[in-house]
Symmetry: C2
Subunit: 310 residues, 2 copies
């Protein structure tokens, strides 16, 4: 089983406005669509759609948390979220005839007791029911109140249980997490630049920054660079994958699809893992919702991806 | 006790974005505020704040409905909503340094059984626990699935229970409702124009249109005309109230404050009722939230309002 952790889960809401969205006026929303979101949940949804056994965990609260829970149930996704008192956040995307505008609510405030309850539940799960977890994916931002070294604590717990740990985070959460030596870190260019203080534009700079990240504690780094593809840096090897094909579509969730591919391929050779990750990431852009991958496109692209270096 | 009915209740959400809201970008919401909303609920909140005994009823569903319920509890408002399966709607107002933009979700879909359940509960309440209701306020839009003559049905039930009926609706819901002879209809200029097919710009045209509305079945009409004040037309009298003072502020909810004043003053002379309604309406503009009235301003303005005609 693969465990994904989403401490700042979100209800992803899409509003479609007919015609053009008008500032400083009242806009009637034509259609509303809700999805359970947040990086770890998106990763879990991809894994579930490929038939992998996955359990999503993290924090959920309030009416928005209850709605996320019922959407996870409707998706048939196994989950074990810990309840908090404050409202989980919503992220709303307004789409109209012209474009898409995002509205990101701040995360819920988590109390010390709630964090402690989650920490204990996570420890218990990974020493009991989920003791045989192959991989633990820690993904996304930390809501206010969660300790900044939360990911470091969880990497320690997951490692003690023998699980492979993948960290996809940003800023201080990433910086502290990396010190606990995760097996794999998956930053994008901006996250890698923020972590290392080095500019990351293109493959050469990303490779250089990823090596700095290794020095900070990561056992391996796969950096996603958008149209420039991906770079893997580990103590043994440096490899590069080009984007197999560029699609117009929804780039949100491409990183989560990549993380899902890397989580389901633990133990396989890097060339295969990177090929899967690049194909999965490119295919996810075709789906309008994060956490959904067009499987046929994925299988077709996987044949086309070339991994360089070694 | 006064009963207010809100068939299309809403969770009113205010998003504050720091700086300027940017189209086609991701905007971080700085602050989120939630209030129970919809016209009938706003009326109930005003009445409750003035110490009047009030019960809010209508339809609520899903996680948004649960949130509205808990906000009503937090406000200390008595309520008896009937549960529906679909999600109650949200109305979001984005405020930034420049202005305010509204996003109105469509209402929930109400099944025939759910409407029947509400109809039966309303009938039961008005013949048992709420049999002594002084007034019933029917306010706001009808969600999809509710019969277009819903207000007419409820006016019949309320009248049979001896309650004074006030209707604040629009379009077909207003047109059908008025045929059941409500004691008072409170349209604004646009609603009155839509009902009568006559242009309504200013006091003279509003008076003429209100007389047409009397002919359609209303026992009395109080039309709210924004800066132009209000006009009352009944078979016995035509009166006019000027806006006592113009405030910059939040005009949403001024009509609901007016309806609340007219509901709590049933049985008193029209001059007093109109003076209260004009003062309440003007004072509500000072509060940032619909359903809240600055009571000191209301008391001061009430001394200043002059009613003309008779």
């Amino acid at each position: 089983v693969i465990v994904t952790v989403t401490l700042n889960a979100a209800l992803d809401v899409t509003y479609r406005v007919k015609g053009e969205f008008a500032l400083d006026e009242t806009n009637r929303v034509d259609r509303v669509a809700d999805h359970a979101g947040g990086k770890g949940i998106n990763v879990a949804r991809v894994l579930h759609s490929f038939g992998d056994e996955v359990v999503a965990t993290g924090l959920l609260g309030g009416c928005t948390g209850a709605r996320i829970r019922s959407l996870l149930d409707a998706d048939g996704l196994r989950h074990r979220f810990v309840r908090i008192a404050d409202e989980s956040r919503r992220t709303t995307v307004l789409t109209d005839a012209v474009g898409a505008t995002g509205l990101w609510e701040p995360g819920p405030v988590v109390t010390e007791e709630e964090w402690r309850a989650f920490h204990d539940a996570f420890t218990h799960d990974l020493t009991h029911d989920l003791a045989h977890a192959r991989a633990v994916v820690l993904a996304g931002s930390l809501p206010p109140g969660v300790p900044i070294d939360a990911y470091a604590q969880m990497i320690g717990i997951a490692r003690a249980a023998g699980a492979y740990t993948i960290l996809d985070a940003d800023g201080a959460a990433l910086r502290h997490g990396i010190e606990a030596h995760p097996d794999l870190v998956k930053p994008n260019a901006a996250e890698l630049a923020g972590l290392t203080g080095e500019p990351v534009d293109g493959v050469a700079q990303a490779t250089r920054a990823a090596k700095i990240a290794l020095g900070m504690g990561a056992a391996a780094v796969v950096a996603t660079l958008g149209d420039a593809g991906m770079v893997l840096v580990s103590p043994d090897t440096t490899r590069q994958v080009r984007q197999p094909q560029r699609f117009d579509g929804n780039p949100v969730g491409a990183g989560d699809a990549c993380t899902a591919a890397l989580a389901r391929s633990v133990g396989r050779p890097w060339d295969e893992r990177l090929r899967d990750a690049a194909a999965m990431s490119a295919a996810s852009v075709l789906a309008p919702v994060a956490g959904v991958v067009d499987q046929e496109t994925y299988r077709r692209l996987r044949q086309l991806v070339a991994v360089e270096g070694g």
